[in-house]
Subunit: 140 residues, 2 copies
């Protein structure tokens, strides 16, 4: 069922190669997923955190738009395909051990979050000085 895509990823043979070589060798976890933070390409503001499996990562490379793996629905999730709120990929970064991705995107449509907000990180933690229930407050 996986569509053919011509992209090949590198092998993960040595720590040195993974960290220093210029070959993309992403690591998928025991569930076949890699964590992806989508950030605004202009401001670097964090928009959302989601996951990709290998197929959705390949589709993201092909389309130039974010395609995630929905862990709750257990299906490919081409964000914006129905809502119009798609994410145009400007740059994809990976980290030292290549087990995380930062997707720098231009967010189209009304916003990133399903709550109709521009991003998903709209609340900040308020740490109570003397303990007790940890509250949230609107983030600026």
């Amino acid at each position: 069922m996986t569509p053919f895509t011509p992209y090949q990823f590198g092998s993960r043979e040595t720590k040195q190669a993974i960290e220093e070589d210029l070959v993309f060798a992403p690591k998928f976890d025991e569930n076949g997923l890699i964590a992806v933070m989508a950030v605004d390409a202009h401001s670097d503001e964090a928009l959302m955190l989601a996951y990709m499996n290998e197929e959705s990562l390949r589709l993201t490379l092909e389309k130039g738009q974010a395609v995630y793996w929905s862990r709750s629905r257990k299906e490919l999730w081409h964000k914006g395909a129905t809502s119009g709120e798609f994410q145009e990929v400007v740059e994809i970064r990976t980290d030292c051990d290549q087990d995380a991705i930062v997707l720098r995107v231009i967010q189209h449509g009304g916003g990133c979050c399903h709550t109709k907000r521009s991003n998903c990180f709209y609340r900040k933690v308020v740490v109570p000085k003397s303990g007790g229930l940890v509250k949230l407050a609107p983030a600026e």
Copy 2:
């Protein structure tokens, strides 16, 4: 073995409460972990992606410094405790379904990454137009 901390997290009873109420009710996955993106508090630049378990999240709240859970070493990881490269927490944000955290930090010491770079996302993906091995290039 878990040290006493007086902080209480909210219950996760309804989707409405999780998304809209101002109570911190973090969701830990089947491994007891929540994904955390550390970003520079001034520039919003992505620094690293790591994970916390409930104990490390409580310790982060207590100390005001990032304490992660090392998945490879299977132990608490107070970043900078030995290297001096600790992360001073300026703000903690959570997302709509409270299963991800953005930690806005001031990075102390030489830098964030164990490779001695200022952040872990120092390479970008180069998508080959006609397929083949996907390469990386230094990110600016």
